[in-house]
Symmetry: C2
Subunit: 692 residues, 2 copies
């Protein structure tokens, strides 16, 4: 036993563990403790957790997750204990060290890229190599010519070349066989480019290709094209004098990521830098050969958005997992109508907590089935294009993925915060596991298409559909055509769908409301000629209504006879999934009641009954809540949450993090105002100032 | 000129400044730059900014702010440049150093407590001394006997004794003339107590007073009472062995604050520790003397909530200031209906940005007038009680302040995030100035009464009022009585108030909807006897409806003839304030349309017209937006925002923070995966691991 400096705490060293010895060691939580309570919760439901997990994630995924976890848990570098206490520069250092260690594992154990990505997901840093592994590598693979691929890919896959992704202006000097990059103003600086701030030595730069016209020498634009360029030296890791590049500084999240600013001073890159799989510029004649179809640009963006929907699902599931487990364990106040009951009520038994957490639980499943459907649609569209040059469904896929990106990332971002608040005071602690998730994921609503701005593209697509139907020039071919046509044929009615009685009425009500909003926007824009900009709020609401309709349709499809075997949920889970489907739908109808009423899809009488119906569904789902979140199979290692851990040992873990793992408690401070010393007895007056 | 290590950047040292010399030095933002744009914005409106500022804040406040600012701006310790990059322990150290420096100023310059609090507000750390200066000091002043005051206050005011505030269990051993504090379980640990984690040497502990009954020796409870106790030694700053106390670890915000856990092992405190102004325990006879009225507990809590409303107002104003200035400067996309226009549209001209930011601007004013009214009501109630023992309005003040705490802090918390997202990508940067505000203020919805839980007290109060009226036993004396009575006399009607035409119709519509919800809840609880718990969601909505009604009433009062001279806004601002009043009201009616429709306060016809009316109001307010936020007088020092700075130099400041002030750019990293070194050339392999 030793007494450590200034701590007043005794430690017992044995083998490789250090244990604090004080009177708290023998203390246990009050009975019933969290482990007991959550065990009881799990006996209240007979949902087949493993079967539901496999239905959601596939057996292959679950096994891969388990396997990679066993590597990460054994290496101290991936221990998350004190990372919340680190400075921003140390958070970057840690992120870099982890990305490198995972690569060492990958090389040693022959991991393929899917396995590495699983490791990246579980490590749960925003990796400083992220852009290298995704946007940069994908762009080279898709856009480089065979010759360029042969040169670059080995260097990129071996991480000799580490790349980022940026957009910029570009001018081309015709006589020099070089391109010139220049930033004439501060506002021309690139900004936010991940991996480029401190990590990368190369970048793919998407730039306006400008070529001097042979007749008059004036620059002509040929649109965005990808170029690969070196930004830092292989040995010194310094940029050339004609490039200024650095990290933009601290952010709301993404502490371990180096987002960049970059400016060029007439920086020259060779002709060979232009990635020329689809379009190219002849070296001798300066002749431009244009790409075959805009899909080459669309494709990877749409693929990215499909992944964003799948990510939104798991992010929301993660927040809901923490919240459901904690509010099952946490008790507060004895029921005032039965004061003789000694045990306080579990917080999840309060309707005020249920109404926040359980609809989000339902939403996580709604997002899942639509993410999955979008992935299937994307694969089908890509193979149609590749096999038969059939672009028919591309526009539909493109606009649907935009609307869903907007809605789903808003759901997940807001959902994390709702879960956080539903947990009361402890939700504010980093030990909740939701703080970093909230701050990192908070980027989603504004990146890769701002959630408000992109919805105008969805509305434009729908208005175009409506126009075709209105002028009678097209046949109803896609689902949306048929839906709109059905609405047009009955649009003078107020159908008042019996949404409490039939699933079909729910689907019809969502379609009706969405079609009504399309029709209203069409009248404003196409018939009355109102300005596009003046309708943007309408467009946003329309896009959300349309996307919600897609979510209920895809969710409901798993209960129909047409669902494929692999799409059907396991027997024992069907009933509660159906309750979740109805909860998502009815909760959304109530939240958006105004539009459902205005369109005539909902009557005031049914609206009055909705709160009761929603509460009944929540009562039915309540006993299954813990098993439902268990089915998402999110490991404790990823959750990093005292409140949401699988075994329910909430208070033991909270105390352990505070009393044994918090570095601030290793210091004793000088609280005398007349002394500038901060650490008691250290004579460190003024030291903190040097860090400012 | 010197070349600093590994930076590839040249610096020029002159006198006391260091300037980077590279090709970016001469770069300016594209024209028109932010300074020009925001200047133009200010010429578009003739709102008398200074007069409106004085109306909102008082001349005295503005002068005090300016005076204190001049102290803080001159001292490097208050420079916020790199504080976002610090580790959590350093954030605490910095917070402590700043609190001490401000105290040094206070002593040197003879600042009173109001002045010190202004400094605390401008320093904008959550001060590790905060609880000492507020809850601890206030409790001693209010609850200590004259003798105790004489002993403690000099030590407390000189910061020899530094105190915190906690609640705990307490047992009293009758024979020893001591109180015994004991924590039998881990869950009995105190948690979250600010200032107690590392800073305080004393605490006021609110504890259940338990005294053995003389007849049978069993412990009897006498309710919560305050005790003062020492928790750390004056010299060593260590706790005694019978106390375990420490900091709970990192949180979503409050990095500079040491929130505590604390456990007792049969810790004994003397009889004199009980603060005995209002109730006491006789040393010899063990006789308990009870306090005269529960106001002694109510009073300071209610005062706290009134301050929370005033704080919510300024926090929201701060977020809106940043957002309005930035979205006035930021341009994006040329208007598609007028593509010949060369200049891109200012983001604030998009309805999708207006609908997020301008109603929040209106809300900041709504919160102001209600905060002010609540302060006046509180002062009146306190003086009634002190002068004539009249407690008549206390219950009303208590429940109103609870409902408003819930609504106003939700508005402000959500409002910061809405502003952040409305600014697009740059809102995610710490340079927005909203990141720390969002994380610190995020504690508000769950502390000092969870925003959902406390609303049941509001509902209970209103149901009691309704019961009195229904059984006809009381006379309508308070405003809420009169409102409910008016509703009861006409409750079979559907009044369909013409809210677009008359202010009075707006006030009536809010009152009607709120009374309707009271009546509905009354029917459920009192008539049909439904369980209290089952009605909690209804209670929450009811409380919000009631609070919104208070907000529109107080806002509208400034336009009536009965408003006092000091309450009337300056001439040139009345019209736009009236537009803001209507915007807050109509926006709220649309957002809560369901309840307005259900109650019959609103017709479907008027609902259809609301979006147009809201847009017209936003069009009218738009040119005044920058001057309106200027009127809040929030200094750049506090905003700490590149995006929201007064002079509009957004891009210059963003670049300065990234290129010249970001410590991460002083390091060059080793990105080779096969090397464990992190800082290039440092040989630091494994160093980051030691920090985990």
């Amino acid at each position: 036993m030793v007494l450590l400096k200034g701590l007043g705490r005794k430690y017992c060293h044995s083998a490789d563990t250090v244990t604090v010895i004080d009177f708290t060691d023998g203390l246990k939580p009050a009975s019933p403790d969290g482990a007991t309570t959550i065990g009881t919760e799990r006996t209240r439901s007979d949902i087949p957790v493993n079967a539901l997990s496999e239905h959601l994630l596939t057996r292959e995924y679950i096994e891969r997750q388990k396997r990679i976890l066993s590597f990460l848990e054994k290496d101290d570098l991936f221990n998350k204990k004190t990372q919340y206490s680190l400075s921003r520069p140390d958070r970057y250092r840690l992120g870099l060290a982890r990305a490198k260690r995972a690569k060492q594992f990958a090389v040693k154990h022959g991991w393929d890229e899917d396995v590495y990505k699983m490791a990246e997901y579980l490590i749960d840093d925003v990796s400083p190599l992220h852009l290298h592994l995704h946007m940069f590598m994908n762009t080279i693979r898709e856009q480089a010519s065979d010759e360029q691929r042969a040169y670059w890919l080995p260097k990129i896959e071996s991480w000799e070349v580490i790349g980022a992704y940026a957009q910029t202006e570009l001018g081309h000097g015709s006589n020099t066989k070089e391109f010139i990059m220049h930033s004439p103003t501060l506002t021309a600086s690139k900004w936010w480019n991940g991996t480029l701030g401190r990590t990368a030595n190369h970048a793919v730069v998407m730039a306006q290709l400008k070529i001097p016209d042979r007749s008059n020498g004036k620059l002509r634009s040929f649109g965005l094209h990808p170029f690969i360029m070196q930004v830092r030296d292989f040995v010194t890791h310094q940029p050339p004098k004609t490039i200024i590049v650095g990290d933009i500084g601290p952010k709301m999240g993404y502490a371990s990521m180096d987002n960049a600013y970059m400016l060029f001073d007439n920086h020259r890159i060779p002709h060979s830098a232009m990635l020329s799989r689809f379009s190219r510029l002849d070296l001798e004649t300066n002749e431009y050969v244009k790409p075959p179809h805009q899909y080459v640009v669309y494709g990877s963006l749409t693929a990215g958005r499909v992944n964003i929907i799948l990510q939104a699902r798991i992010v929301l599931a993660r927040a809901v997992t923490v919240a459901v487990r904690y509010v099952s364990i946490r008790r507060q106040f004895v029921n005032r109508d039965t004061p003789e009951a000694k045990l306080e009520t579990a917080v999840l038994d309060y309707p005020t907590v249920q109404i926040r957490v359980l609809p989000l639980l339902a939403t996580s499943f709604a997002l899942h089935y639509t993410g999955k459907a979008m992935k299937q649609l994307f694969d089908r569209v890509r193979s149609s294009i590749e096999q038969s040059g059939d672009f028919a469904e591309l526009a539909d896929l493109h606009s649907t993925s935009l609307g869903l990106k907007s809605l789903c990332t808003t759901y997940a971002t807001d959902g994390i915060e709702t879960c956080r608040r539903a947990m009361g005071g402890h939700g504010f602690s980093a030990a909740s596991g939701l703080v970093r998730l909230r701050n990192d994921y908070g980027s989603r609503p504004t990146v890769e298409g701002d959630n408000w701005m992109i919805t105008q593209q969805v509305a434009q697509y729908l208005l175009k559909k409506m126009k075709t139907l209105e002028v009678g020039s097209g046949t109803a071919s896609t689902t949306i055509d048929i839906t709109l046509q059905r609405f047009l044929q009955a649009s003078n009615k107020t159908p008042h769908f019996p949404v409490l009685d039939y699933d079909e009425a729910i689907l019809a009500a969502f379609e009706w409301r969405s079609s009504y909003l399309v029709s209203k926007a069409y009248q404003a824009r196409e018939v009355r000629g109102e300005a596009h900009t003046s309708l943007l709020v309408q467009f946003y609401r329309l896009s959300n209504a349309y996307s919600q309709s897609i979510l209920v349709n895809n969710f409901h499809a798993i209960f129909t006879n047409t669902a494929g075997v692999s799409d059907k949920p396991p027997q024992g889970a069907t009933e509660v999934l159906h309750d979740l489907f109805r909860l998502y739908a009815l909760y959304t109808i109530e939240a958006e009641a105004k539009e459902f009423l205005q369109s005539g899809a909902l009557s005031m009488d049914v609206l009055e009954l909705l709160p009761g119906a929603i509460q009944s569904l929540m009562d039915r789902i309540r006993p299954h809540a813990v098993r439902l979140v268990d089915s998402w199979g999110i490991p404790d290692f990823l959750l990093d949450s005292a409140l949401g851990r699988y075994d329910g040992k909430v208070y033991e873990d909270l105390f352990d993090r505070a009393h044994r793992q918090n570095p601030l408690n290793d210091h004793t401070f000088n609280n005398k105002w007349w002394s500038d010393e901060i650490e008691l007895g250290s004579g460190d007056a003024g030291k903190i100032l040097a860090k400012l």
